[in-house]
């Protein structure tokens, strides 16, 4: 099982002006002392169309991590506006927080981000060249999307063996359809008879 469980991410300073740094207060629990640091990254998705506009805002090492519950604040500067396509500056995009251990990503937390002008006039008639000073960033903190990945927490020797566990053989054994609603009525057989005899 995963040695590190993310218990909560609180989005601080939200909503805030576009140029403010991102602040996430991350609480996680570790089952046992980790010999290596965790690496956390904040990735800002510049455009939904292409990954090439992704910006890694910052990456930090977090450690040492003994067994127990820990928290820290991950602060990263706002994205470089020069790298954001002008058409995608205003509107909904995504910010991702990822954590890796021994270079393996085991959790990815995504938030929708809505960038909007606060001024109603600008909202009605947005300038062609985005005015980042007037933009407000609002992270939809209440709806994080969390994806967890299985990784090998031990040394690298076991890596192959571990991937066997993920083999979804048990999944394939049954069709996705399950029985909704009540079971069909089943007549109670008369006592002491077993017709399969």
């Amino acid at each position: 099982m995963a040695k590190v469980q993310v218990l909560n991410v609180a989005v601080l300073d939200n909503p805030s002006p576009f140029r403010n740094p991102f602040q996430f207060e991350i609480t996680f629990e570790c089952m046992e002392d980790l010999p290596e640091d965790l690496e956390w990254k904040i990735i800002y998705v510049g455009s939904a169309e292409s990954e090439e506009y992704d910006q890694i805002l910052d990456s930090v090492l977090v450690g040492p991590v003994p067994a127990g519950r820990h928290m820290f604040v991950f602060q990263a500067d706002a994205p470089n506006t020069g790298l954001i396509p002008e058409s995608d500056a205003v509107g909904v995009t995504v910010v991702l927080i990822t954590c890796t251990y021994r270079s393996q990503e085991f959790i990815r937390i995504g938030y929708y981000v809505n960038n909007e002008y606060t001024d109603p006039e600008l909202r009605e008639n947005p300038p062609i060249k985005p005015d980042y000073t007037q933009l407000q960033r609002n992270i939809l903190a209440s709806n994080p999307r969390v994806t967890r990945f299985h990784i090998n927490w031990e040394g690298s020797a076991e890596r192959m063996e571990d991937s066997e566990n993920v083999d979804p053989s048990s999944n394939s054994m049954l069709p996705p359809s399950c029985l909704p609603g009540k079971a069909p009525p089943i007549g109670i057989l008369p006592d002491n008879s077993m017709d399969c005899l």
């Binding site: 207060e25 977090v62 995608d88 990503e105 903190a141 994080p144 994806t147 109670i188 077993m194």
Partner: protein, 1020 residues
């Protein structure tokens, strides 16, 4: 029989491999496949049992889900006491879960809020040893052991009392082990494997008792599980998949000789699971029928790969009922309720069915007492009573004396647990979440500023995370799980801190677990109706926002994939991609923006609550402070006493002994001690008191005896004489001595004075000289009298003790070299016990007594001893016997003992470690008290020691202790047994120890054995 398939019990269509009903019948667990992991779910039983509860939306159906297993969960099993849940899965792990108290409902981070966990179950231990999928787990009767079996062909027995300790690994199967069952009396554990064998293992030596292969020879193909079961009377073991005449059967194995003559026939495909009803039944007495005693029988359910279920009574030749087509796929597991009338069945098709039987169908279940008496008849009493508490509630108390002590114990525990008495232990763990008087909220506010950030060698940022809780301290703040900054944790944290909060949230009332109204009005969570108003508000905002962002839905879909996409650097494991709806995201976005005013409001609330926490912290500090005060007073008191040498004492002192040691080092000698080189290697020198013109002291209280010494008073022909005046109960006597008196001491029987010319004179309490003056080799450093003993420590570091009554030396010029050597320690304290045992306390915190029988110095107290620091025997202190504060042991160990008790609270030593430390410490105390011949203290520690042994269940030590106290029952000339020890008759002591033993039903054999022998001896 009624049948129900609760459709809401599902793992989202994924297979359910295991089901188990909690012993209290209020919930059940399922285990199986999750989205991308194994899944354990805990469900409420009430909606299964009652339709109104199923329809009632306030009754939670799902109580908790745990996704921690990396791969499919094959088995879930509740411990017999219901405290733990064990789960085993394809990830080779066994996890043991425990309900976390104090934590209210919460969500798994990132899951939608509907799936709130009503109860919190935390993984307390992960058991790792298997190298393949764990297929089945089973708790032994009374939860002594946990067995797990695996496709690695082994069975591992874990010590359920000391997880993750492994007792043994049973090897012998040559195929995948797929089922386990314990003998109900705990003598055997049986396993069934793909190697066409069923093996029975003894729990005494963990060797194989029987290997049954014949019924399985024909078996072909594989089943996912082979869950076998042992009948509740222990007489039969029923296997899963066996073959008889090429038909699939469930083989009945008789305990007697492991014979395989009978089987359950009829299923068309392999039997996957057999489960005995926990109850033994007898035929229902019908009106008018003859009252002939009917033979008790058992009930057994059999599930098969052919998707059908059959229920059998051992009194009938045909099954009671067979149900076909209940499931679409193979039956995987069966669990009966403890009442024996309900049964849950789960299947690979991901559904669960509940069967409800009536007493008319099954018969009258025997009571636990009747069941126990059947066990006793078959297996004898010793087997039926295995050494555990769980079953002891059903144990028959065989001895009237025992009953008395059991009742006493119950009443005392009841009074102890009365409300309002919040012990220091119970409040301590709750304060864990407050560090250095700072609440978690304060920490969170300043986290960014406070957290340590460094740069690594290659210039990267490295943050040291703030540890907010140790893993083992148990329960943390629940509300942290929510995503809103700070707001909810404020109220729940303070909830946690309120000292009145109890952990006894009863099962079956999940709603009571939520936000409990706390006692402080300031801390109450916002009223529900204000939240409602907020929601109404949302509706409006939501719709407008939907309009504005409708055009953005397309890119959102594109964005969605980013949530689950893995970064490129990672090895290519398939990631489950969850589908998302952009619309819902926007909904919640609307909620978010509109709830900001509410957040502010709550933040205000939060401030006040953290204020009140600060107050609490400061109150705590005050408490600490006032606690310290008495200690300081004591210290001061001692100093004052030392200075009061000059005049007779007015205040009564508690004992002569205390008095005698406070007198050892008069203030004037302090300087001398410093000036004397502490270890001149060859000649050890101890400080000596200087001569004073006059001094007086009280040597005894009952009767009160005062001594007055006046040096160089009468001059007769140029020589000076010293006068010793003594008043006892108003009667005075005086005598003259040729040399100045340096120091004096006395008891109610004796007065001893040492003079400048190194002469020691001893007088009776009436002034009669009892001994001619004794010439000492070096001046006197310390002088003590107790009863008819005189003790002298000379400046030359030798010790002598005389018994004046017998005119005999007990200790003769014994050198202190051996205890003073090496380090520059000095004598800080010395005293003489009532029994004439000399005790010397050193400046390094060690205290020695000289045992005249062993002729050695024995260490009786060491303030630096880590055993003292960590021993925790508070649980064994009885309210009846007050601690002996005046004994020599207590005087020498004094307050350090208390410090030790406190220290044990602070340290987080593992239990077994602390247990051994406490045991060692208590044994030290006993031995020291014995050497000091301090009877009262011996008795006191003996009782604590035996109580500790009884609590911790160390039967061997207890037995040895009793044996020693009882002595030989028949005396002969060669018997060397002393009937008394330190002034107590040993058998009287045993009489006191026995009630302590009687408090634990587990030792009733021991109790009865010695009680009977004592009675026998008394009657002789």
């Amino acid at each position: 029989m009624k049948l129900l398939k609760p459709s809401w019990v599902s793992h989202h269509g994924k297979p359910i491999f295991s089901v188990d009903i909690h012993p209290d019948g209020t919930k059940f667990a399922t285990g199986g496949q999750g989205e991308d992991s194994g899944k354990v779910m805990i469900w409420n039983m009430a909606p299964v049992l009652r339709e109104e509860d199923e329809k009632n939306e306030d009754v939670h159906k799902m109580l908790c889900q745990m996704d921690n297993h990396l791969a499919c969960v094959n088995c879930v099993r509740w411990s017999n006491n219901g405290l733990y849940l064990a789960s085993g899965g394809d990830d080779k792990l066994v996890m043991v879960w425990k309900r976390a108290a104090f934590i209210g409902p919460s969500t798994v981070f990132g899951s939608s809020s509907k799936l709130a966990n009503v109860e919190q179950w935390r993984c307390v231990t992960i058991l790792r040893n298997h190298t393949g999928d764990v297929m089945d787990v089973a708790w032994s009767p009374h939860d002594v052991w946990l067995a797990s079996c695996s496709v690695d062909n082994t069975i591992v027995i874990w010590n359920a009392r000391k997880f993750p300790e492994m007792v043994t690994c049973l090897r012998g199967h040559t195929g995948l082990v797929k089922g386990l069952t314990w003998d109900p009396v705990g003598k055997y554990v049986a396993s069934q494997a793909d190697d066409h064998s069923l093996k029975v293992w003894r729990t005494v030596d963990w060797q194989m008792e029987a290997n049954i292969t014949k019924p399985f020879n024909e078996c072909g193909g594989t089943t996912h599980v082979l869950r076998l079961s042992w009948s509740p009377d222990g007489q039969y073991l029923v296997s899963a998949h066996a073959m008889n005449n090429s038909g699939p059967t469930a083989q009945i194995v008789e305990r007697d000789g492991w014979k395989t003559n009978m089987d359950f026939v009829g299923h068309r495909k392999a039997v996957t699971v057999v489960k005995f009803n926990p109850k033994i039944f007898k035929k229902k007495q019908k009106n008018g029928s003859s009252n002939k005693p009917s033979c008790p029988y058992c009930c057994c359910a059999v599930g098969s790969k052919d998707r059908s279920l059959s229920v059998w009574l051992t009194s009938l030749k045909r099954p009671l009922v067979v149900i076909h087509d209940l499931f679409d796929k193979s039956i995987m597991d069966i669990s009966w309720t403890l009442t024996g009338l309900g049964m849950l069945v789960c299947s690979m098709d991901g559904t669960v069915a509940y069967l409800d039987f009536s007493l008319d169908e099954l018969g009258d279940p025997l009571s636990e007492e009747e069941k126990n008496s059947i066990h006793q008849n078959i297996y004898g009493k010793s087997m039926a009573i295995t050494n555990t508490e769980a079953q002891l509630s059903t144990t028959i108390i065989e001895n009237p004396e025992m009953l008395k002590y059991q009742q006493q114990r119950q009443t005392s525990t009841q009074t102890n647990s009365a409300p309002g008495t919040v012990g220091p232990e119970s409040s301590a763990p709750k304060l864990n979440s407050v560090m250095n008087g700072e609440s978690l909220e304060d920490i969170r506010k300043n986290l960014l500023k406070k957290q340590v950030e460094t740069r690594t060698a290659d210039g990267r940022r490295r943050i040291t995370p703030l540890c907010i809780a140790q893993l083992d301290t148990g329960d943390f703040s629940p509300a942290l799980f929510n995503s809103v900054p700070i707001l909810p944790s404020g109220s729940s944290m303070s909830n946690q801190l309120t000292p009145h909060l109890s952990s006894d949230s009863s099962p079956g009332q999940p709603s009571s677990l939520g936000f409990r109204p706390s006692h402080d009005p300031m801390l109450t969570s916002p009223p529900a109706n204000s939240l409602k108003a907020l929601e109404d508000n949302n509706e409006g905002v939501k719709s407008t926002l939907l309009l504005t962002s409708a055009s953005k839905i397309e890119p959102i879909k594109a964005l969605d994939s980013r949530f689950t996409e893995r970064s490129k650097a990672t090895p290519g494991l398939t990631a489950a991609i969850t589908s998302t709806a952009g619309l819902t995201a926007l909904d919640s976005r609307a909620k978010e923006s509109s709830s900001t005013p509410a957040q502010k409001e709550c933040k205000l609330k939060e401030d006040t609550s953290s204020d009140s926490e600060d107050k609490m912290a400061s109150i705590n500090k005050n408490l600490m402070y006032s606690k310290r005060k008495p200690e300081l007073m004591i210290d001061g008191g001692e100093v004052v006493e030392k200075r009061k040498k000059g005049r007779p004492r007015k205040e009564k002192m508690t004992t002569s002994m205390v008095q005698s040691f406070t007198q050892i080092i008069p203030p004037s000698e302090q300087e001398t001690r410093v000036s004397v080189p502490p270890s001149a290697v060859a000649a050890l020198r101890l400080p000596t008191p200087s001569t004073q013109k006059a001094f007086s002291l009280q040597v005894s209280m009952e009767p009160s005896v005062f001594l007055e010494v006046e040096n160089e008073v009468t001059v007769v022909a140029g020589s000076k004489l010293s006068q010793l005046r003594c008043s006892k109960d108003g009667r005075d006597w005086n005598t003259l001595l040729p040399s100045s008196v340096v120091t004096a001491a006395g008891s109610s029987d004796l007065i001893a004075v040492a003079s400048e010319d190194r002469m020691l004179s001893v007088f009776s309490s009436c002034g009669r000289r009892l001994l001619p003056a004794i010439q000492l080799a070096t001046p006197v450093s310390a002088l003590h009298c107790t009863a008819h003993f005189v003790m002298v420590v000379t400046a030359g570091a030798t010790l002598s003790v005389w018994d004046v009554q017998k005119q005999k030396a007990l200790v003769r010029n014994e050198s202190l070299q051996s205890i003073l050597s090496g380090t520059d320690t000095s004598v800080s304290q010395s005293l003489l016990t009532q029994q004439g045992v000399p005790v010397v306390g050193l400046s390094n915190g060690k205290s020695f007594c000289f045992s005249s029988s062993l002729e050695t110095w024995s260490l009786i107290a060491d303030k630096a001893d880590s055993l003292v620091q960590c021993a925790d025997f508070r649980g064994c202190l009885s309210s009846h016997d007050a601690p002996v504060s005046s004994g020599p042991l207590a005087v020498m160990q004094g307050r350090y003992l208390n410090a030790g008790r406190l220290a044990s609270r602070l340290s987080s030593t593992p239990h077994h470690m602390q247990q051994s430390m406490t045991l060692a410490f208590l044994e030290n105390q006993l031995a020291s008290a014995l050497t000091l011949q301090s009877g009262q203290e011996y008795r006191y520690w003996l009782l604590i020691y035996s109580r500790f042994l009884v609590n911790e269940g160390s039967e061997h030590r207890l037995r040895e202790l009793c044996k020693e106290l009882l002595g030989p029952v028949h005396t002969s000339a060669t018997t060397s047994w002393e009937p008394t020890t330190v002034g107590f008759r040993k058998r009287e002591l045993l009489r006191e120890v026995l009630p302590v033993i009687g408090e634990n039903l587990r030792f009733q054999r021991l109790f009865t054995e010695y009680q009977d022998q004592l009675e026998l001896l008394r009657n002789k």
